[in-house]
């Protein structure tokens, strides 16, 4: 197994086709890396959303409990 290119300039030039080769490699690199980061962050952002969701849920439960409690006492007063 031998290196195909003799110099770094040859490697960049790709026998005159450098533009096409490096454009397609750049698209793949950006696409794959971008999606990897996006899908990796998805769990974190979903967790943040869920924290808000649970807070709302417990708030609602507490208000409901309070509401029921006041209703109970008003019934007793009557």
């Amino acid at each position: 197994m031998t290196l195909y290119f003799q110099t770094f300039q040859d490697f960049i030039d790709m026998g005159g086709h450098g533009f096409f080769v490096w454009t397609s490699y750049a698209f793949c690199f950006v696409g794959l890396l971008g999606y990897f980061i996006y899908s990796n962050n998805l769990s974190q952002s979903n967790k943040k959303e869920l924290v808000k969701f649970y807070r709302k849920l417990t708030d609602r439960e507490q208000r409901l409990a309070k509401h029921n409690h006041t209703n109970d006492s008003s019934e007793v007063n009557e």
């Binding site: 197994m1 026998g15 086709h17 096409f20 490699y25 999606y35 649970y54």
Partner: protein, 247 residues
């Protein structure tokens, strides 16, 4: 063996299992990509007609293959979810869509950039290219349809039907180069014949295929985990995981 199979269908078990598996998959993906790129860009020989543009092969062919592979996974898991009403199957099916669409888009873009110096045009309405563009639209349709329903269960079932119907496009893509006169060349690797390419090039291509495969599994796992959190938000273990207490 069957208990393992049943556990796989449990979102909680999958989430915990994948937490341990994910770092390994990320490392394997990264290493395979490094090895594949070194083989493809530095050590492999060039095509006597195409010259160095043939190096686009190492990112184009795996992307095209994975675009089709992800679609088959999406349709099969969709069908499993549709018939046996397994939650996890639908979660996997839905998570396949966007990563599959990415592979398909990358195959189309790299193919277009490769087409310019080789065929003299970026795009042509040829059977292989058109059927592959339809695959991309099928992915977009699947995602749009799934987003159109508020109820996730209805969305899962409707999207699964679309995925199963669209499966007919996969053999069309595969055989398009044989059925019609196309500019696109036929398959170079086949299960039944000796591959018609140089051993160094084949090695680079196979390593890149493995790298894309592991990338797919890693990205899919990450998406599935995010999807599980949202769908299982009312079960105790997710609340415990997110808030850190058992309230």
């Amino acid at each position: 063996m069957w208990t393992w199979f049943y556990q796989l269908a449990s979102p909680k078990w999958f989430y915990q299992f994948s937490t341990r598996l994910l770092p390994w998959f990320r490392w394997i993906t990264g290493l395979l990509f490094l090895l594949g790129l070194a083989l493809g860009l530095l050590f492999s020989q060039v095509d006597y007609q195409q010259g160095n543009t043939v190096r686009i092969l190492y990112i184009h062919v795996p992307a095209a293959f994975m675009g089709m592979f992800a679609y088959v996974v999406m349709a099969i898991t969709g069908a499993i979810g549709f018939v046996w009403r397994i939650k996890m199957a639908h979660i996997v099916s839905v998570s396949c869509a966007s990563v599959g669409a990415l592979f398909t888009l990358l195959a189309l873009i790299t193919g277009a950039v490769w087409g310019k110096p080789t065929w003299g045009t970026y795009w042509i309405w040829d059977a292989r290219l058109t059927s592959f563009l339809i695959l991309f639209f099928l992915y977009l349709g699947f995602m749009a349809l799934h987003n159109a329903f508020d109820d996730k269960k209805t969305a899962d079932r409707a999207a699964a039907v679309l995925a199963i119907v669209g499966l007919v496009n996969i053999p069309i893509i595969h055989f398009s180069v044989e059925w019609w006169n196309t500019l696109h060349q036929g398959a170079t690797i086949s299960k039944f014949e000796k591959p018609s390419m140089d051993a160094d090039m084949l090695a680079a291509l196979l390593v890149m295929l493995a790298a894309y495969q592991f990338y797919f599994l890693t990205a899919l796992m990450q998406r599935v985990r995010a999807e599980i959190l949202v769908r299982e938000k009312l079960s105790g273990w997710v609340q415990k995981l997110v808030t850190g207490n058992n309230s």
